[in-house]
């Protein structure tokens, strides 16, 4: 699921506007937002970070704030080696490529970044896109064409849904993480049709993970290719940080892994890695790869350096897990209702009784000096209001205790615990 706060991940069916103003169709969203602001809220969806002090601290609205709602899982954004690589590339190669990857936009740095990804995943091919969104959009819409079937989890990220919408394949969703529902749908696909199963390693709304071992085996049994989006697991799940597929021991049965540089890697960009022998042809036929400018040299240099450091980030990884387990256990002990029974990823989702209380709690935490993500219907599963906490390997043990204290005070003040 996405971080899109006003929209469901699945594309909405928008009613035609009665006449003239093409913006009339947004009246519902405008009213919803105004309603929330009228309740005297600080706008949860237009917070500005005036200064960023470290991966875990920023000045927001004049207050020093602990960041617990970013995807900076491995805290790479201020890593001195990563910053140095970016500065060097900026000096040596300039600010931008001003061109597509397939024309003048592939520099040495783009190649080196793809080399780093191939090594990181132990895969034959790696293709870097300008964002993870475009990686999903491009790969899905290009490989699944007319007459093919895409079978996907209903809680998939917006970029996955949009990849489906951009292509011409038949789209068949199944209930979240429901192995039987997935298999039933695969069984019913007409003989001979191409099949693509799309799963995520970690689902970012609740921080739960997919039963990849079972699902990938079933997909294989029915002759489907498998794409797994590991956006929220890279760097810290699996022995080498390759993600949930590695942890489940099914890397060899996954055809395509999609990932992003905008989370653990700490910059921006997206990618697909694969062992498919014909994978390189994607560079010519995948429109969201071809018809857009490539990433700036400084971005691919920071990404490559960060990815290589993540390869031996075992200590950071261990600390991130410690943080996640401590926060999860601490919040549970305080009496909060959480999205998962135990810590399964670096995301801990706190379920709010309703939007009003959720928004009040979000604001109370901000006043305490803590930033978390407020997620609300329709972007959330089962229309829940969530306070999503995402941990960073750079949160200290003491910071996690401070965070728990903030939750306790805010929760009591708002009347949730």
């Amino acid at each position: 699921m996405s971080e899109g706060v006003m929209q469901a991940d699945q594309p909405p069916v928008i009613e035609a506007a009665p006449a003239g103003d093409l913006f009339a169709k947004f009246d519902g969203v405008i009213a919803m937002r105004e309603g929330l602001l009228k309740a005297g809220q600080e706008d949860p969806f237009s917070l500005v970070m005036e200064q960023v002090l470290s991966p875990t601290r920023a000045i927001c609205n004049g207050r020093e704030t602990i960041l617990l709602g970013t995807y900076n899982y491995m805290g790479m954004t201020f890593d001195p080696d990563v910053i140095a690589a970016g500065k060097q590339a900026l000096a040596d190669f300039g600010t931008g490529t001003t061109g597509s990857r397939v024309l003048n936009g592939t520099y040495q740095g783009h190649r080196e970044c793809e080399d780093a990804l191939r090594e990181f995943y132990g895969m034959d091919h790696a293709m870097v896109f300008s964002t993870g969104y475009q990686a999903n959009l491009g790969i899905i819409s290009t490989i699944a064409g007319k007459g093919d079937y895409i079978v996907l989890d209903i809680d998939s990220h917006a970029s996955i849904w949009d990849g489906c919408a951009l292509g011409n394949a038949e789209v068949v969703p199944f209930r979240h993480n429901d192995i039987d529902a997935m298999e039933k749908r695969l069984k019913r696909i007409p003989e001979g049709a191409g099949k693509l199963v799309i799963l995520e390693g970690v689902y970012s709304m609740l921080g739960d993970i997919a039963p990849l071992k079972e699902m990938v085996a079933i997909a294989r049994k029915h002759g489907a290719m498998v794409l797994v989006d590991e956006a929220h697991s890279m760097g810290f799940i699996g022995e080498n940080g390759r993600g949930v597929a590695e942890d489940a021991g099914v890397m060899d049965d996954v055809d395509f892994i999609i990932g992003t540089f905008s989370k653990s890697v700490g910059t921006v960009g997206g990618f697909c890695v694969s062992n498919h022998p014909k994978f390189e042809i994607m560079r010519l036929v995948c429109r969201p790869y071809v018809f857009t400018a490539s990433l700036p040299p400084s971005v691919v240099a920071t990404a490559a350096t960060s990815i290589r450091k993540l390869m031996d980030g075992a200590d950071k990884r261990a600390h991130l897990w410690k943080n996640s387990r401590r926060l999860h256990g601490g919040l549970k002990a305080l009496g909060f209702e959480l999205g998962t029974a135990k810590a399964l990823s670096a995301i801990v989702a706190v379920i709010m009784p309703d939007l009003e209380k959720g928004a009040a709690m979000w604001q109370a935490l901000l006043h305490e000096g803590l930033y978390v993500n407020l997620a609300r219907p329709p972007a959330t599963p089962a229309n829940m209001t969530l306070l999503r906490c995402s941990l960073c390997a750079e949160h200290s043990d003491a910071e996690v205790e401070t965070i728990l204290g903030m939750f306790e005070r805010a929760g009591k003040a708002v009347g949730i615990i």
Binding site: A8, I154, E170, V172, P173, R175, A181, R188
Partner: protein, 82 residues
């Protein structure tokens, strides 16, 4: 196997999702009259799919707005010699 039988079996599947007991006729719309949200649509479609052992892809669902259209679509897809 006639259309009326298909209609009857889909009606059975609708039961648990029609909590307001809205009377369903050929022209009844899912979004407007029955106020189905996307989660309800998914569950209702899954129930019909299981009942008839068919797939109704989202692409096909996009063409279906009313009860009559649903019954026609399902009836046409039935593998058991409809």
């Amino acid at each position: 196997m006639d259309r009326a039988e298909t209609d009857r079996r889909i009606r059975e599947q609708l039961e648990p999702f029609n909590s307001k007991r809205i009377a369903v006729a050929e022209g009844t719309s899912f979004a407007g009259d029955l106020e189905f949200d996307s989660l309800t649509v998914m569950d209702f479609v899954a129930a019909i799919e299981d009942e008839f052992d068919i797939i109704i892809s989202m692409n096909q669902q996009a063409e279906i707005e009313t009860w009559a259209q649903l019954v026609d679509a399902v009836h046409a897809m039935r593998k058991d010699g409809a």
